[in-house]
Symmetry: C2
Subunit: 397 residues, 2 copies
């Protein structure tokens, strides 16, 4: 199965081969754009936020870029500038109603960096991390990087958690449950009731298996929610909570790789856990989050892109999908629809849409076949030229 | 041995315990500064470049920070902006006399990020990486992160490579030899003659063991050299060469975490190797090197801090150490002295220096007891107040 190549690690060869269908899909999409013109193709395949960063970010960036004081770009402690971490702790208190110790904030290279230091700090070989389906495809890599095993668990049809199945999936090897709410790809937001039931389930399970089970919350979309809902505060709900997030979506700066990890002040492990996270930031080669951007995000931490634009696009796309006859759960946050496909084979349906110059991602990429992901972080005109294509694709079945 | 803590990974608890002497040392240093005043202590313990970034960097930073065009901070390909990589390829051609394909340049989160993607791309479980002693302490972690085993090999007394010992250390599990020249902590620069002999040794060994052995060159100090010497071009010398470096020292911006990996265009593995490095950048959670800094370093790539300042400090410190009676090899590059300690126990000698308010790092931290590392990336006044302390420490023995 694995292509032989004595130069490259066998596991990486295997990863590349398994991901080849995604690469092929992107290549086909690029070929379509070359053939018909990028302005004819509706590219809903990428989760790359397109809104401009808030004015406060731009002002902070220009001000801090002009700082010529000695050491402005020097190393700082691996967990980040103490002043930045204080500001982030204040922000976490506002979101979660719990104040992490300043030490319990570690500035990271985005939420992807955050998840990697969390799993490095927590996982012994073979430890399991439970994740509700659908889930972001990178999670499998992040857990595997550190010797753990991702355990995907089916959710209900509306993408709410199936707590019974989660409970059944817990074993003495379970080290964490990983949540992503608002969810990529489903747009679901877990309710406070659901999360409290999960917390109580985990407390019982911790007693049963005799060791801590952490609730790891990957929440870069926390503030990208619609219809004025609020994402429940994980750290208020569960003591062994670890939050990671980034400023990628709040400030539309995903290329800058800046985020943080926040640890509940009373989490098991105490200072050793915070020490392990900080050491992990160092030894995994991140060393520290980028210096300049730490200072910039601390100054623009309360700013947010214009979420009403995402909401407008969501509402319009909901009409279009409904008219075409697609079935979906209305996304409560993030910028994705995750409709059921009208035929079982999601890759086949994505190929049919592609014939109509509509690019999406098959749900199997998120552990959830029978769906497609439609990202609406795109200009309104892209959405406006899509109705006919969706209708034709549906009619062709 | 390992403290029990069911919350934190056992390996991380072990790492923290083994590193506790370093932490203790830094805490004692901090206590000395608090007690006597920071201006009384000679802190030679940190490799944090203190020179101001070059003017060209500052100008590029301010210009690029003011760019408000859409997508300025968006995701780009995992390997970095194509235009930045082209500029870096041109720079590598100048340094190494070999032109990597543009695809063979991967922008990274510093050289630490570079080494981690290299080892992730190369190592199968149990693969060995040979490194000449002394070596940067982080190498052990970077290799271990990806299931490999670091194999330190003794060097000659002048820190040149002991090629016979390197040859003896090669086994069928050897995947790479890792070099750092100019060297942290010794300041040694491997000569072209030495490197050519190593290359020929590796070519024979590759035939003997029947698989490629990569020469991984970690060279952030390439341009920080003294007396007008030049660091030999690894990629011209060995075909299976992979270079990683950062702009941390050239531009004095280590907090910004920006560097790159350059692969020899004819290296074994070909496109699969480049693909694996790029995938590793993504799945290890770096995702991509920070967007803004990629653009800034591409514009200031030929700039360099004022190396004559480091050379002046080196020359002055050489006088001081000689007068105190310490024996050392004159550093040819980087910003470290690595003198032999007059007593066998390097930690004890570091403690004796600490009594004189002089902070250094024992050689055992670099796999090389019987030495101490003295970093001279410090203000001249720090150096000027050190002679008496060095003399008193020597006299006290």
């Amino acid at each position: 199965m694995t292509q032989q190549n004595s130069a490259v690690a066998a596991k990486m060869m295997d990863f590349m081969e398994r991901a080849s269908w995604i690469r092929k899909m992107f290549e086909e999409g690029a070929a379509l754009k070359a053939q018909y013109g990028a302005d004819k193709v509706c590219d809903f395949s990428l989760g790359n936020p397109d809104l401009v960063p808030p004015q406060a970010f731009q002002e902070a960036l220009e001000k801090i870029a002009s700082d010529r004081s000695p050491g402005a770009h020097a190393y700082m402690p691996n967990a980040g500038y103490p002043k930045v971490r204080e500001e982030v702790a204040r922000h976490v208190q506002k979101d979660h109603g719990v104040t992490p110790a300043t030490d319990g904030i570690i500035m990271t290279v985005g939420a992807a960096g955050g998840l990697n230091i969390i799993f490095k700090a927590l996982l012994n070989p073979g430890d399991e991390v439970i994740v509700p389906i659908p889930y972001f495809v990178e999670y499998g890599f992040y857990v595997d990087n550190h010797g753990g095993k991702l355990v995907p668990v089916e959710s209900k049809a509306d993408f709410s958690m199936d707590l019974e199945k989660i409970d059944q999936a817990i074993t003495p090897a379970t080290k964490a449950v990983l949540l992503n709410s608002p969810n990529n790809p489903s747009g679901a937001v877990y309710s406070e009731e659901e999360l409290k039931a999960l917390a109580s389930l985990l407390e019982s399970a911790e007693k049963r298996v005799g060791r801590p089970i952490f609730l790891v919350s990957d929440e870069p979309y926390r503030r990208l929610v619609f219809d004025n809902i609020t994402v429940p505060p994980i750290l208020s709900i569960f003591r062994n909570g670890i939050v990671t997030t980034s400023f990628s979506k709040d400030l539309s700066i995903p290329g800058e790789r800046i985020g943080y990890v926040a640890v509940h002040p009373e989490a098991d492990g105490g200072p050793a856990l915070v020490g392990a996270l900080t050491l992990a930031n160092r030894i995994l080669g991140f060393v520290n989050a980028p210096a300049l951007m730490q200072k910039v995000v601390a100054e623009s931490i309360d700013s947010l892109v214009d979420v009403s634009i995402y909401q407008r696009r969501r509402d319009r796309l909901a009409e279009i999908l409904t008219e075409a006859g697609l079935e979906f759960e209305m996304p409560k946050g993030a910028f994705y629809f995750f409709p059921r496909t009208p035929i079982e084979d999601d890759a086949r349906f994505a190929a049919i849409l592609q014939e109509q110059l509509i690019l999406t991602v098959p749900g199997r990429g998120f552990g959830c076949p029978g769906h497609i992901r439609i990202a609406f972080c795109v200009q309104d005109e892209v959405i406006e030229r899509s109705p006919e294509g969706f209708k034709k694709a549906m009619a062709s079945l």
